[in-house]
Symmetry: C3
Subunit: 262 residues, 3 copies
């Protein structure tokens, strides 16, 4: 009975507390874990990436409750997903895209049976009135298929990936973390397929990154040259020793990254 929460609600207001209250009302004894509530307001890509980076670290069958919901109150659907042994509850706006890309056997349902909602359902806070009650029901053992009909056309964002461009590969900056490390969309397999046993240089925002480090503290402590490093989420990251690569290079999520193959 583990439920994680991932929202853009911040921690200053009562929103997260209201959701947790409803979860504990309907599933007493549930263990609640915050993934984050500091997603920038309505930033679906950041939420999708953060979920991708940690959902599989939790013991199955955890319920992952994701509420970044600019369309609250409109007719966008509420989704329940079963994937990889986990359950997910989220609005149908693409926020589960990266998980669905990684879990091709996922089953997706349109949660429309109001018996699983809180009554009355407000038009402005489905986190409390729709998504938290669904998560509580799933944590209590509800079969995902019972919430409503199967969905084959869930809203999807562009998949994480890289593309051939000239003699290299073009990817993007997926995320900038708290330390200023820039997580790119390059995975080990793509780069090693393209350049087996060879050095790769990266170009981002007019800067060139020439070195791959094995760990952060490698090299001299006063060395301020940015470098690439294989990050813990499985993607190539651009970093700088004891500083913010994002600030140093002026990089933001969505920026293009070119891998120049030798």
């Amino acid at each position: 009975m583990l439920v994680t929460l991932l929202t853009d609600f911040g921690t200053t207001d009562h929103f997260v507390a209201s959701m947790k209250g409803v979860l504990l009302q309907r599933c007493p004894g549930a263990t609640l874990v915050d993934i984050t509530h500091e997603v920038a307001p309505q930033d679906l890509r950041a939420a999708a990436f953060t979920l991708l980076a940690c959902y599989a670290d939790f013991p199955a069958p955890a319920v992952h409750l994701v509420v970044v919901d600019p369309g609250v109150g409109s007719d966008r659907r509420a989704l329940v997903v079963e994937a990889g042994g986990y359950r997910f509850v989220a609005p149908d706006n693409g926020v589960l895209s990266y998980v669905l890309d990684r879990e091709p056997a996922a089953r997706v349902f349109h949660a429309r049976k109001e018996e699983f909602f809180r009554a009355p359902v407000s038009t402005t806070f489905h986190g409390r009135d729709v998504f938290a009650p669904l998560a509580a029901a799933l944590a209590g053992g509800l079969d995902p298929a019972r919430v409503g009909p199967a969905v084959r056309d869930a809203v999807r964002m562009e998949a994480i990936g890289v593309h051939r461009e000239g003699g290299g590969l073009r990817g993007t900056v997926l995320h900038v973390d708290r330390f200023g490390n820039c997580i790119t969309s390059f995975t080990r397999r793509e780069l090693s397929d393209a350049a087996p046993r060879r050095e790769v240089r990266l170009r981002v925002n007019g800067h060139e990154i020439r070195r791959i480090r094995h760990f952060f503290a490698q090299g001299r402590e006063d060395d301020r040259e940015p470098f690439a490093i294989w990050g813990s989420a499985g993607f190539l990251e651009i970093a700088v020793n004891r500083g913010s690569a994002a600030r140093l290079l002026g990089v933001r999520p969505g920026d293009a990254v070119l891998a120049l193959l030798p």
Copy 2:
């Protein structure tokens, strides 16, 4: 054995951790839920509003532990309140006012029996030494009446409300949330009593709000005209599509809002 915590201690220092340690020392197995620790330092109104907005979402008999305490160490009283099936622990400085306004059958006690405190009691951190131990005792089943004598003159803030003014109603901005939505003191009943079946216009900080929306994403996505909407806490809110109404209109908590009746 559910205890919620609401403070202005922030999450950078050890204060909240110390309180949780004491709670778990004295009530092993308690479930601890943060409401927020990001109340602006000593902002009693923000704390009172946040508590009001979510206390009833938790399963009774949760203990709500509220520590916003500019008078720590002085002779301000510590209160224990039983209301609506819940228990509340807080300093006697008005922070429970809105709950007391809503729960007329509340019983209020002056917690002065030192046997329920941690010894010795510091003069600067009653959250750890007085309030957390009281909350732990209540979570463990202590009868609120046992902490000390009944209180009939608890400190109260001005009640949330609206007043007749000319041909309209005058309310205030209670709170600005993370998204910049401005929560006003107008409730549905007050407005429908004053203007049944009629459109209402709001005036705030020199701006006029002419429309009430049913949900946030209603209307065109590029429409930047502020609108009113019935919020999830039961109050009329002023919002703007995908932006901060507070920033757009220059509105702060405490600002006056006029409802112009047709």
Copy 3:
């Protein structure tokens, strides 16, 4: 099975969630309590102070998991410590110094048996791959001595203390808290040994502090003169009524504080 977490990971990214997922994978039913994740990136002193200020408030045998780790991936050791009835897991970089100063009977071990790690161990996220698995094992009852050999040369920071200087004592500002209070390294014993029954004046950053208050709200509410006060962590603090002493006096952690004895 209580595990506390203290990191510089912030709460925006997935890092803390990944650690909690691993903890709950390996120690189902563990109670997880955040001390803080808002330590400034790689600020070992702030982390060490925050841990010192609250570790003993938790019920033994809690496991305190501390990850502020600029040397991640290098050959810095992972430590497991048994002290004061608690267990600690942290990188060997000094972050446990203040606890070790206070607990002379501590036993320190070099955690190098990979059977207690997650496989494979990344080079960039030992919080998830090394420290959280160790904490989970300890919470599950593992004898600290089983993780690897005893260590007698753990990295230590300069101890908290004060030194004779001229006719007074010289200490430092250990920490500035959320309210702007400046926690100094002076303890009650040192000052009372040096100046029994006598008034002490402090000098910091060119300002002189002439009064010691018993509690924050003592004196007139509009009095903006900074004062000293015995703080809840056992150190003398410099504060100002309803304001930030750090901002008023321009004080930062590490600044010198002189106690002028009469």
